[in-house]
């Protein structure tokens, strides 16, 4: 708005690109430990101030993507309310009881539990809520911690494309390219099962020596954590209902955010009624900065879109793919997976979603290949470095050179071994299913 003089298209494009690149680099490097939301909002604010994006356009972009924002809100509220009921703790204890003292079976059950939670309550719930619970559990059982900790971390992403609700990234992509449930399941459910199986097999091979022992379930006797049995039972009834509602809503392409919010409201009524949690406490469990981050990214990418750069990026992807479904899946997966490790997977999904609007005129299978590959790559890609970005890994490697033992590298070693395998197998499966 402060640029009152006329800018040529080239200057405008250069300015927008520069701001977008600096914003993405800032998210990657996080100077002065600034959080990603501030960086994304600063980029968006600068674009608005310089008049490089019309405020009305920016507002329309944000309003158009209301489903994404409300889904994040509903998802985080649902997870925190289910956590307050002690559901995750209870499920983890049941997983241990059903393992009959076998470490191997407990790891298997952890994978199953993580898959189930990711499928219904999204990968956030598995990574952020289940992980510390499983850590507590295996610590009490005196089992090796790392295989179980890594299992939770990996399965959170590996099982995050079983359903559209399994990862908010899916909602970002599907808000622009609405796929009917059958197409989604046809293209992504079986690949998901394939990569989950690979994930499990590799883990059982990698940790075979650490999983040889048995555990005494009696060590868990003091660990029961259901605070209020009626609210717990209520949650156990409501959550399957929400899962069913998600499936029906996906089938009818009804906004999933409404289901998530309605489900959260139902649980909140119970939580307030039985004095387990109130709205203020729920709001403390919600990461509000995520909304700023997504809003900032939407505006930055919209400005880039207006310069036609994302469309050209889409064309480049199409060109690299050779116009066929095989190339689309491979290029889409590789691009998304690498991108999610360079920057966070949220901005990568926003960028790719915008770019894929440039491949609308391609054949249906090619277009579907790109969409499925974007979801697949952005969901599974973070497992490559697991700590979020290559920048973090580089930092860990620098620390290592200074002769410091950094356990984050343990993650990296497993990620670099298992993720390319899963990406390859999953993308081949998607391609086979496209034909």
């Amino acid at each position: 708005m402060f640029l009152f003089f006329h800018l040529s298209a080239l200057t405008r494009t250069l300015l927008v690109s520069l701001i977008a690149i600096v914003t993405l680099a800032g998210i990657m490097i996080r100077p002065f430990k600034l959080d990603e939301a501030r960086i994304a909002l600063a980029g968006a604010g600068l674009l608005l101030l310089l008049g490089l994006i019309n405020p009305l356009d920016a507002a329309i972009v944000l309003l158009k993507d209301w489903n994404v924002f409300f889904f994040f809100l509903g998802m985080m509220a649902l997870s925190s309310l289910a956590e307050a009921a002690g559901l995750f703790d209870w499920l983890a204890v049941q997983a241990a009881r059903l393992s009959s003292g076998s470490s191997r079976r407990l790891l298997f059950n952890t994978f199953l539990l993580g898959s189930l939670i990711s499928m219904v309550l999204s990968n956030d719930a598995t990574a952020l809520i289940l992980t510390p619970i499983v850590y507590t559990l295996v610590t009490r059982l005196r089992l090796p911690v790392l295989p179980f900790l890594f299992a939770c971390t990996f399965i959170a992403d590996t099982a995050s494309f079983l359903l559209p609700v399994s990862n908010p990234i899916n909602i970002i992509v599907l808000s622009t390219f609405s796929l009917d449930l059958w197409t989604y399941v046809r293209l992504l459910f079986i690949p998901s099962l394939v990569v989950i199986s690979i994930n499990m097999i590799v883990f059982f091979i990698l940790y075979r020596r650490q999983l040889g022992g048995r555990f005494d379930i009696k060590r868990l006797s003091e660990a029961a954590t259901i605070r209020h049995s009626t609210y717990f039972r209520y949650t156990c009834v409501v959550l399957p209902g929400i899962a069913l509602a998600y499936i029906i809503a996906s089938a009818f392409q009804f906004p999933l955010s409404i289901v998530a919010l309605a489900g959260a409201a139902l649980l909140l009524i119970g939580a307030v009624g039985w004095k387990q949690m109130n709205a203020r406490e729920v709001s403390r469990h919600i990461s509000w900065s995520i909304f700023g981050f997504i809003a900032g990214m939407f505006i930055v990418v919209r400005a880039v879109e207006e310069t036609n750069l994302t469309a050209q990026f889409g064309q480049l992807l199409l060109h690299l793919s050779g116009g066929g479904s095989f190339g689309a899946v491979m290029i889409g997966t590789a691009g998304a997976a690498l991108g999610t490790n360079l920057i966070n997977n949220v901005p990568m999904a926003v960028v790719l979603t915008s770019a894929l609007q440039g491949v609308q005129h391609a054949s249906t299978t090619t277009r579907l290949g790109f969409i499925a590959a974007t979801i697949f790559g952005c969901d599974l890609g973070p497992n490559l470095t697991t700590v979020g970005s290559l920048a973090t890994i580089l930092w860990l490697l620098i620390l290592r050179r200074r002769n410091l033992e950094v356990s984050g590298l343990d993650y990296f070693k497993v990620g670099i071994l298992v993720t390319p395998l899963m990406l390859l197998a999953g993308s081949l499966t998607i391609w086979l299913l496209l034909r």
């Binding site: 959080d35 990603e36 939301a37 470490s103 956030d124 990574a127 952020l128 992980t131 510390p132 850590y135 507590t136 559990l137 610590t139 009490r140 005196r142 089992l143 090796p144 911690v145 790392l146 900790l149 971390t153 075979r208 020596r209 650490q210 999983l211 040889g212 022992g213 048995r214 060590r219 003091e222 660990a223 954590t225 469990h285 990461s287 900065s289 995520i290 981050f293 966070n344 949220v346 973070p382 697991t386 700590v387 979020g388 973090t392 033992e405 356990s407 984050g408 993650y411």
Partner: protein, 161 residues
Amino acid sequence: MRVLCCLDGTNIEALSKAITTMLRPDTLAIGLLYVIDSGPHGEMERQRERFLRQAELAPGRREQLRQAEEASAQDILEEGSRNLAGAERLQRRGRPEREIVNCAVEWNADLILLCPRTTYGSKPTIGPKSVGRVARFVLDHAACPVLLVRPITREPFPIPR
């Protein structure tokens, strides 16, 4: 002589057997050390940051983790005391390899006793990777002699000449 035994939850029998067979227990001051590994907390914090959340867990959950770690540590030290009566219990929190080295100096240990790596039900291995990260670090950095304890094995012999 002051002997610092480094417990990992699986090695108390091996360590106590080594003390009774190789050393004279009645002449020893024995310390039982267990270190609560802080590494997994770092992993969980990094994971939370990746999901754009505050690195620290909620206070309730943090307390739950702390209680589990303390209970497990007490359990392991208790087991150690049953095997080596009269031993002094020492508990630390941090990176195990560093805590062992530092604790040995603070406690004036003359000898550190530990197993090459934790074996969860599997057979101890010999070969290039038989010494784990913690034992390797302690061997490299300890200010006193270090005794690595592992059972006698004959399986892969003779080694090709």
